[in-house]
């Protein structure tokens, strides 16, 4: 059943568009070009590892996976209102399948990395084996939060707007388009504001995941921030636990409220 739902979620995304799967590639590609132009060329941000494109892309793809999974999951129950009102089946699968669909898109979009890595003479070695762990953490995090938001969204439709806005802000609190080193060095000693920004970025579980991706694809090394990743992993597991609890509790009235 889950397989069919994922199939539907993935397929329906591309039905009726000329480019189809191309959009999965084109979207991050364009953003990556814009960011590297604005930040790399105009603002002269120095990206470690030599290549602004690969640096931005590796973080951006991970982030896109996360945000897409979260947004799709949030709407997953409400978008299937007719189904929820009329058919009894484990509705949670709707949310799970939307996160998996985002994962599929992410896997496809990884192809984008190949040409840019070749262009900048980069390769990946053994450390790429760490990538599945990073993906798993992202998956768990977006699923856990997604379940809570999907269930909450049935009762309070504002949540979907808030999630859209929230991910936009969250993006800037994640070192995707700026290097983490810039933050860790610059903000120290910048008073209260600097401390606050610092704290937010450190507390952000996605920070450590994105850093891990950059380690693997930009520097061809094992993720360096093990403590951070451990924190992210615990955070994700907690969010899954809480997500399941919230979902189970709220689903009793889904069919009436959706």
């Amino acid at each position: 059943m889950l397989l069919e739902l994922v199939r539907r979620d993935v397929k329906s995304r591309y039905r009726g568009s000329v480019l189809g799967v191309g959009w999965t590639l084109l979207n991050p590609l364009i953003f990556m070009l814009v960011y590297s132009l604005v930040f790399g060329k105009f603002l002269k941000v120095h990206y470690p590892g030599g290549s602004a494109t690969v640096f931005i892309l590796s973080g951006l793809l991970a982030w896109t996976f996360f945000s897409q999974a979260l947004i799709m999951a949030t709407g997953s129950i409400v978008a299937n209102a007719t189904l929820v009102r009329k058919v009894a089946f484990p509705w949670m699968l709707l949310s799970v399948s939307s996160v998996i669909a985002a994962l599929v898109n992410f896997a496809i979009s990884l192809l984008l990395l190949i040409p840019f890595m070749l262009l900048s003479h980069k390769g990946v070695g053994i450390p790429v084996l760490a990538a599945p762990v990073l993906v798993a953490i992202t998956f768990a995090l977006s699923l856990g939060l997604g379940l809570m938001l999907a269930a909450g969204n049935v009762y309070l439709r504002d949540l979907s707007y808030l999630v859209n806005l929230g991910t936009l802000i969250w993006f800037y609190a994640t070192p995707v388009i700026y290097p983490f080193t810039l933050v860790s060095s610059k903000f120290s000693g910048h008073g209260l504001e600097g401390e606050a920004a610092h704290a937010v970025i450190y507390a952000n579980p996605m920070t450590w995941v994105v850093l891990g991706f950059q380690d693997v694809f930009v520097f061809d090394r094992w993720p360096q921030h093990w403590h951070g990743l451990g924190y992210s992993a615990v955070f994700s597991l907690l969010s899954i636990w809480l997500g399941l609890r919230v979902f189970r509790r709220l689903r009793r009235r889904f069919a009436e409220e959706v």
Binding site: L5, R8, K11, S12, N80, V84, V87, R157
Partner: protein, 409 residues
């Protein structure tokens, strides 16, 4: 007696009716609570056991809690009180084609819908041809369902559902769709499932189908199980109640006095009454006698007058006009005051809402003395009639000699 496969114990379900519903964050924050709401018990303390192989019908007016009860059994809604236990594989069909994706082809939707209803892909693949054939969609199965007509959509949805192969099938009013031939095949299919010993829970407004399919029946009335028992007894009791209520409504409502003001040459119609076999008739069944009685008054004896009664359908379309015989009335002088009656030995009209238009006309000029349009609404029921359309005609069928062996389908 076989064991109960569905046990419903004192089940109650409460809904919230929101007055000002806070679905936006701002309102929630301001109001602190999720809006003011009233509680409303859609189902109250219903208990029933369904033994294996039984077909149970649920009837009642709109809003009586039938579907709510069914949804609780299907597990879509969770009851607020009581328990429901189900033994065996239960499949529910509350809406045909729920969850179809418009952009997907019929075939893709069969896989998707089948999966949602709990069938593995392999199994669906093996019965795909049966489904397509049952739905009569051989040519269109690979077109997106958004190009389907509503009939095609329904047929496909139902074709999937009847192939679900459940122990217990829960069906809500899905037979009301589709054309006559398809409905009949669905009924046939349901009968096959019954003969295989499957359990059926069936909600419908089509009392004929309920009688045909169900062994027992629950009559839901404002959330309460008003009567549970053999299907005929319950359906009869329900029909009697519906007729009583309607009668009361029509009596107070529109059937008030007619316009008795004088028309041309001071001719007045003082009363129009519908009479059944025993007194005034407001609700009657097809085939029952009906008399339309017209009381008139005129300043002088009426000469050369024609009376006529027109029966109109609820939407105002005339069905039948019955005039008096001109030869009889042309030269006659009717008294200044009297009663004219038109009697039908049996009302030929089928299920529906009707009215009459009554007039008195001067034959020579063709002008009305007085005309009363669309008065005396009445209701006809034809639950026992298999004919469809507007009216029944006396008829008989002749069939070729039927063999005595089993009838092959």
């Amino acid at each position: 007696m076989p064991e109960a496969v569905v046990e419903i114990n004192d089940v109650s379900k409460r809904f919230r009716i929101y007055h000002e519903r806070n679905t936006t964050l701002k309102q929630s924050l301001v109001a602190r609570r999720r809006g003011r709401f009233e509680e409303f018990w859609a189902v109250r303390d219903v208990s029933v056991e369904i033994p294996e192989g039984e077909s149970l019908g649920i009837i009642g007016e709109n809003g009586s809690g039938k579907s709510t009860l069914l949804k609780c059994v299907a597990g879509i809604l969770v009851q607020d009180k009581g328990t429901i236990s189900v033994r065996g594989r239960l499949a529910s069909l509350l809406e045909v084609g729920a969850g179809f994706h418009p952009d997907f082809t019929g075939r893709e939707n069969v896989y998707l819908n089948g999966a949602i209803l709990g069938l593995p892909r392999k199994y669906i693949k093996s019965i795909m041809d049966t489904i397509v054939e049952f739905a009569e969609l051989e040519q269109f199965i690979d077109n997106p369902v958004k190009t389907y007509s509503s009939g095609m959509y329904t047929r496909l949805g139902f074709a999937i559902a009847v192939n679900l192969d459940p122990d217990i099938l829960v069906v809500d009013e899905v037979l009301a769709v589709g054309d006559e031939a398809f409905q009949r095949r669905c009924m046939e299919r349901i009968n096959i499932m019954r003969s295989e010993g499957r359990t059926l829970v069936f909600v419908s407004h089509a009392l004929g189908s309920v009688r045909a399919v169900c062994d027992r029946c629950i009559w839901m009335d404002h959330g309460v199980a008003r009567k549970i028992g053999g299907v005929d007894a319950v359906v009869d009791a329900y029909l009697a109640e519906v007729n009583r209520r309607e009668e009361a409504e029509l009596d107070v409502g529109e059937a008030s006095d007619v316009d008795t003001s004088p028309g041309r040459m001071g001719v007045r119609i003082t009363a129009v009454d519908l009479l059944g076999a025993d007194g005034p008739a407001v609700v009657l069944n097809t085939g029952e006698p009906l008399t339309v009685s017209i009381e008139y008054e005129a300043p002088v004896p009426l000469r050369g007058a024609r009376f006529s009664v027109t029966f109109l359908r609820g939407d105002g379309a005339p069905i039948l006009t019955v005039p008096t015989d001109d030869l009889e009335t042309a030269d006659a002088a009717l008294p200044r005051q009297g009663v004219v009656r038109l009697s039908l030995p049996g009302v030929p009209f089928l299920e529906g809402f009707y009215r009459v238009t009554v007039d008195i006309t001067e034959i020579a000029s063709g002008q009305h003395y007085k005309r009363l349009e669309r008065v005396r609404p009445f209701r006809v029921h034809s639950a026992e009639h298999r004919e469809t359309g507007m009216a029944v005609l006396g008829h008989s069928w002749e069939l070729p000699q039927v063999g005595t062996g089993a009838i092959r389908r």
